[in-house]
């Protein structure tokens, strides 16, 4: 019995252990110590608990209660975009959004799916899209998931009447972008959509949050900081899992965005867009070679005094309203606004006025003329032979008119757009000592070519101003293994062709308009801009007022000799007035005197059959009235044939609208 008791009090004997594991004094000491350590630890914890609960209890309770109130953003109505006369280009219409609080959806999967399917049927939104949107926002129970932006009244009534069938579904007022003029000025205005994850990451510091609406292109994007307004704040009590347990309580009202007034003129913009379509149609109907492929273009109209853009048209275009509300992928596909379909629709989202680069052809000749006079390699009234072709180093450069053979001065050469005259000038540039760099390019660069114009419109192309250095860098053993040794050299032909705006040179219509504005205003290079001012809308009590905004840089002097400019202006005047001028038949009878230059630039284009060949790009750039210009117009019709065929008549339409006068009958066209 004693043995038995002992074996219960101590560990049982084990053959491998020599002595049973006794509760020795040593062990007792250790267990005692361990107990004391445990006691000390728990005593500390208890004291800490007491200090938190009793000593600081009140203070921490307050902190915890604050933590239970969560902030919700209230989107501000976006500011409108106006034209220079206050006509509305873009504004908002109130809409009704259907949202889901994902945390209030039924917990059971089957019930939840049934609700989503039912909602999908009511709203005519695919159920998988709702599911995907809910899944995307699962980690953020405090931002409602937008299901549909512009719900109809019938849908709203249906959902409200059956609210208990749709737990977690909320009807909220919202603002939708509205375009009263449809696709008018789409490339200028741009479109808005919900902020993308990438933009959110980049712009989080500037106060953008998930679910915000942000301008994606054009003015909507460039002046988003003015248009977006300031989001308001509402508060919501939530439990520890972030589930709302109260109604939304407004705290800080949202401040509507400011109105952005543009320099654009709705009337002129309409005229420019119509003129562009007219020019394209005219080219298509003219039967000229390649004109069947006339399918795009741009017209720019700017104020030569300060660079204010009066009209900016690009074709083909699109309706920005396609991005309003729930965006339908198929609608974007059809409109050519997705990467997959853009090429087939000839890139309607591309703003050709600032983001399309074309060889300028003869519209570039005034640049050559001014540069040559400034460099003293050409006297304004020096007579040079204009012939049907020009031979240099065994290479033949043709004139657009093969039957001409006379000597002429610079103004006449400009008016008749004599290529061979300018070939000789180009060759003189080639012969200049190279220690001061390529002079023609230096002047072209001073006039803004090869660089962005700085227009406040975002994505802009700088074009290409070819130089000997550019050739050396572009054509290397690696990029051009067959012919790099020859191609990397700047040859006489490069200078000769550059003189008439051909070969590698690429410009945007806006760069061209800027250059003609410089001729028109007497030598100042303007920065084209669209912003007139920013206005805070008047709201209850506070009157509207102008908001300080960054103004475009002032026109910069180019220090061009006034006499040289006068010679070029004389040439441009003759081109539209003298019987031999290239666009005299179009502008000659217009009551207001217009000066300008045609251009026909060859560009290698694949019309879609896999065989790229040279197509004529139709250009016209000029200004009016000739003696004190108020408007510069630059028109470009892709594959539009000669400058006088399509671009010049289109530009005339813009002048007609601007001056409110009609041109009379136009005679036969003889132009490059």
């Amino acid at each position: 019995m004693a043995n038995r008791v002992r074996s219960r009090r101590f560990l049982p004997p084990d053959p491998r252990v020599e002595e049973p594991y006794r509760f020795t004094p040593k062990l007792a000491l250790r267990v005692g110590l361990l107990g004391m350590v445990a006691l000390a630890v728990f005593a500390t914890l208890f004291l800490r608990l007491w200090s938190l609960q009793v000593l600081n209890g009140q203070q921490l309770l307050r902190a915890a209660q604050n933590n239970q109130r969560r902030d919700i953003r209230v989107q501000a109505p976006r500011g409108p975009i106006l034209d220079r006369n206050g006509q509305v280009l873009v504004t908002n219409v109130p809409g009704t959004a259907v949202q889901i609080w994902s945390s209030d959806l039924p917990k059971r999967r089957g019930v939840r799916l049934r609700e989503i399917r039912k909602l999908a049927r009511v709203l005519d939104v695919p159920a998988y899209q709702i599911g995907a949107a809910v899944r995307k926002h699962r980690s953020d129970p405090l931002t409602p998931v937008k299901v549909k932006d512009g719900a109809t009244q019938a849908q709203v009534f249906y959902l409200k009447e059956r609210a208990e069938d749709f737990p977690g579904v909320q009807i909220a007022p919202t603002y939708l972008r509205y375009y009263p003029h449809k696709e008018l000025a789409a490339h200028v205005l741009g479109y808005v959509s919900e902020i993308s994850p990438g933009q959110l990451k980049a712009l989080h510091d500037q106060g953008y949050r998930g679910g915000d609406t942000i301008g994606q292109t054009g003015i909507e994007s460039y002046y988003d900081k003015y248009l977006r307004g300031t989001a308001g704040l509402s508060q919501l009590r939530v439990d520890s899992l972030g589930r709302p347990i109260s109604l939304v309580l407004p705290k800080v009202p949202a401040h509507p965005g400011d109105a952005v007034r543009l320099t654009l003129d709705v009337k002129l913009q309409k005229a420019a867009e119509e003129a562009l379509r007219y020019g394209i149609d005219r080219a298509r109907n003219s039967g000229c070679y390649g004109c069947w492929n006339a399918n795009g273009g741009a017209i720019v109209a700017i104020d030569p005094h300060d660079g204010a853009v009066r009209a900016l048209a690009s074709y083909p275009t699109y309706r920005p309203s396609l991005f309003v509300g729930r965006v339908r992928q198929r609608a974007l596909d059809v409109a050519g606004l997705t990467p997959r379909t853009a090429e087939g629709a000839n890139f309607p989202a591309l703003d050709r006025a600032i983001d399309g680069a074309y060889p300028p052809g003869s519209t570039f000749k005034p640049v050559t003329a001014i540069a040559a006079m400034q460099e003293h390699i050409l006297q304004p009234f020096e007579s040079l032979p204009c012939t049907g072709s020009y031979k240099k180093n065994g290479q033949v450069f043709k004139n657009w008119d093969p039957f001409v053979n006379e000597a002429m001065t610079l103004p006449t050469a400009l008016a008749k757009s004599c290529d061979t005259y300018f070939y000789q000038v180009g060759y003189r540039f080639y012969g200049m000592p190279s220690d001061r760099g390529p002079r023609l390019q230096a002047w072209a660069s001073r006039f803004g070519f090869g660089q962005k114009t700085g227009i406040d419109l975002g994505s802009e192309r700088s074009g290409l101003l070819p130089t000997p250095d550019w050739r050396k860098k572009t054509y290397t053993k690696k990029t051009d293994p067959g012919h790099w040794a020859i191609d990397s050299l700047w040859k006489p032909g490069d200078s000769i062709q550059l003189a008439i705006g051909q070969k590698d040179l690429l410009v945007t219509p806006m760069q061209m308009a800027r250059f003609y504005a410089m001729i028109a205003n007497g030598g100042k290079l303007v920065t084209p801009h669209l912003l007139q001012d920013v206005e805070q809308p008047s709201s209850n009590g506070t009157p509207g007022r102008a908001v300080p905004s960054t103004l475009p840089p002032a026109p910069e002097p180019t220090n061009v000799d006034a006499q040289a400019l006068a010679v070029v202006r004389e040439g441009l005047y003759q081109a539209t007035h003298y019987s031999f001028g290239t666009s005299a038949s179009i502008f000659g009878s217009f009551p207001i005197s217009i000066s300008g230059k045609t251009g026909t630039a060859e560009k290698s284009i694949d019309p879609g059959d896999g065989y790229p060949r040279l197509f004529n790009q139709s250009w016209w750039c000029g200004y009016g009235p000739s003696d004190s210009p108020d408007l510069v117009v630059c028109a470009l019709i892709e594959n539009g044939g000669h400058g006088g065929d399509a671009a010049a008549p289109a530009a005339l339409k813009v002048f007609e609208s601007f001056f409110g006068k009609q041109a009379t009958v136009t005679g036969p066209i003889h132009s490059d």
Binding site: R8, P12, V17, K26, L27, V31, L33, L34, L52
Partner: protein
């Protein structure tokens, strides 16, 4: 016949008496203080849950309370089973216990991560965390190991062997990552070594090593540009020094 019957009856009565004595002594030997504290904690838990979750599920105020009560019932059944198992079994079969625990913790690492760490085994109807069961099994296995080698506990070799057995599961839990459970394992290992009677200076050296490696992991290595722990883990370990921050 009768005699035989009587003796049979007596034997049965004796057996019953012995049984009654054994049950009584078993009941007396139970650690009532421990059981009482467990019952008190469980009861407090039920009361607190009933109060907190009363409004959580509309139409069913007792939803979480009944749930917890079911868990308590399952726990009591497990407790009875555990009490009835002869402790001898743990001592003789510690290798099995150790092996199974380590195996379960190891295969968790092969599963997909849930909320960023690989701790759970999904059995379809039930998801469980082997390292939680491991807390008990780990101590049992270590105790078995130490009991086997009680004589040699004063030797460095034995201490190192116990450390080796103990650190393997600690490492497996640490890389799940579940630093909290790893610390619990570490504390258990230290307590086992201490009670088993390791030499004082062995324990002191071990404590020094632990302090040095803690300093290294928390401050010295990050200062030298090498992050052992993730920032949130570091802030959990140092967070007690500033309780009002919500890190």
């Amino acid at each position: 016949m009768v005699d035989h019957y009587v003796s049979n009856a007596r034997a049965a009565a004796r057996a019953r008496r012995r049984e009654a004595v054994e049950v009584a002594s078993f009941v007396r030997r139970l650690d009532w203080l421990l059981l009482g504290s467990v019952a008190a904690v469980v009861g407090y838990g039920l009361w607190a849950i009933a109060g907190i979750t009363h409004h959580d599920v509309t139409g069913n105020p007792g939803y979480y309370l009944t749930r917890q009560a079911v868990y308590v019932f399952i726990g009591v059944v497990c407790l009875v089973v555990a009490v009835l198992v002869d402790p001898e079994l743990y001592r003789t079969r510690w290798r099995w216990i150790f092996g199974t625990t380590a195996f379960l913790i190891a295969i968790v690492l092969l599963t997909g991560p849930i909320r960023g760490s690989k701790r759970w085994l999904d059995l379809g109807f039930f998801r469980f965390q082997p390292s939680e069961f491991g807390k008990v099994l780990f101590v049992l296995a270590l105790a078995g190991l130490v009991a086997d080698r009680a004589r040699g506990i004063t030797r460095v070799g034995t201490v190192l062997r116990i450390l080796g057995f103990g650190l393997a599961p600690i490492f497996l839990v640490f890389i799940q990552p579940d630093i909290g459970t790893a610390l619990v394992y570490g504390a258990a290992l230290a307590a086992v070594l201490f009670v088993a009677g390791a030499r004082w200076w062995h324990l002191a050296a071990l404590a020094l090593a632990v302090v040095v490696s803690c300093m290294a992991i928390l401050w010295w290595l990050p200062a030298g540009g090498m992050q052992v722990l993730k920032p949130y883990q570091t802030s959990r370990l140092t967070g007690f020094t500033h309780p009002t921050s919500d890190a």
